[in-house]
Symmetry: C2
Subunit: 242 residues, 2 copies
DNA sequence: CGAACCTTTGAGCGTCCTCAACCTGCGTGG
DNA sequence: CCACGCAGGTTGAGGACGCTCAAAGGTTCG
């Protein structure tokens, strides 16, 4: 099981892939390259940007506002596609940047379209992954629109834990996490100062601890209750197509 | 031009469709039905939900939180797909509800997959439409995360005007709009009371007037400047594939 | 003609922001 | 080896934006 790439592992949780599908999928991950922390794989306004599959490390995608403020739209972890949405756009509407040193493989639009023609099951799985990414953005939007800061933070950490679990990282006790409080602030629509206070509150309430690059769940069920967290939108109750 | 359906009109702005594509596309709009205001075409938790193409009227899609609060994720106008994202999901993660009396046609998953096999150009256009929808959700997220209430409102109204324009409704002077201040509040993450105050501010500043079911732009350029509005993410600079 | 829904306005309050200072750990260079 | 710079984290004080609660007027539709 540890042999499987994170992407294979994730897609297999949704669709049972044939050996042929698996070999087509393996081609997505052929041109694997290493990028340094801070490298921008795609930048806002770039024309004919590529897509990638992330195999190791953490990435974030964000937009910059006219006043220089940043809103992080999503974080990507191993097994996630990068820049898939904009593959049909003339210019990219967002930036994709490595948070850690990462490994990623470029995926050409042709690879995707080829899969649609020759591996419909795999294509379905890719569409499912894209739909799931969008569902996460939607849930993130709900988070920003209607939840107070502490609940927002709780929900965010639980989603991250759930996503990581699906690709075999971390467990109910916690996970290692390279994000800074600035990352959290820019993702959650808060200031870094307020993020710090919220984290203190959650820690003092005995729910989670976010320190020294590690998230520790001190009371997982309590956190789920606070966040009103329901994994439904992640749609990972086991393979749909067998 | 008025003969074209809104969907055809929208997709044609991106891809030049062949007569064969157009006839396949026409099949999406065969089972046209009328639904009353308030009807839920899809509801949260529904299993094996359908997708639709909206040909007339306005629709909103939203999620309800445990405490009963509502977050509207997006509004759909003629030419938009409804529930496309969840077509691969076991259960729908959101509700789709008519705001006015509407006309919409059910699109079966099979229709979509059939298009992928037999009308690759059309399939590309559908994927583009889905990507554009996602880009709008992302911009909405940025709106909630990083913009103050007045700018948020200004940006929202401008996006709506731009989308309507693409399907042939309204112009730079304004458009008719069936939304209530409660709809605006639930979309923008504000309360209806505050929405009312913000609308008054914008009106008194001579920028927009939102009254009696009509949005009137009193100073379009001023509003664009306030919102920092850039249509880039809507990707509608004319056909990409000819 | 009444009821439900929508809009409008006021007063007071709380969450989250701003500004500011200080601390820690770490890498770099003198 | 220490000096320094810098990124990240922590805490306090004060203020603003948007919320809550409340009430009343307008509009639409059965």
């Amino acid at each position: 099981m540890t042999q499987l790439s994170p992407l294979t592992r994730k897609l297999s949780a949704f669709v049972a892939l044939s050996p042929a599908d698996l070999s087509t999928l393996a081609r997505f991950d052929q041109r694997r390259r290493t990028f340094l922390c801070g490298h921008q794989l795609v930048h806002e306004g770039q024309r004919n940007a590529s897509a990638f599959v992330l195999s190791d490390g953490w990435v974030c995608s964000y937009k910059i506002l006219p006043d220089g403020e940043r809103q992080i739209v999503d974080f990507q972890i191993p097994g996630d596609f990068l820049g898939l949405r904009s593959i049909l756009f003339r210019t990219s509407d967002h930036t994709v940047e490595a948070i850690t040193r990462i490994q990623a493989s470029e995926v050409l639009a042709a690879d995707i379209f080829d899969a649609f023609e020759n591996a419909p099951r795999l294509a379905t799985a890719v569409l499912w992954a894209a739909s799931r990414d969008e569902a996460m953005v939607v849930e993130h939007l709900v988070n920003l629109g209607r939840r107070p800061a502490d609940v927002r933070m709780a929900h965010f950490l639980l989603e991250l834990a759930t996503r990581l679990h699906l690709v075999g990282v971390g467990d109910r006790t916690g996970f290692t996490c390279p994000l800074t409080q600035y990352h959290l602030a820019d993702a959650l629509g808060l200031t870094a100062v307020h993020v710090n206070r919220v984290l203190r509150l959650l820690r003092e309430a005995g729910l989670v601890t976010f320190q020294k690059g590690r998230v520790t769940f001190n009371d997982f069920n309590g956190l789920v209750a606070l966040a009103g967290f329901d994994t439904g939108y992640l749609d990972q109750d086991g393979p749909l197509l067998r």
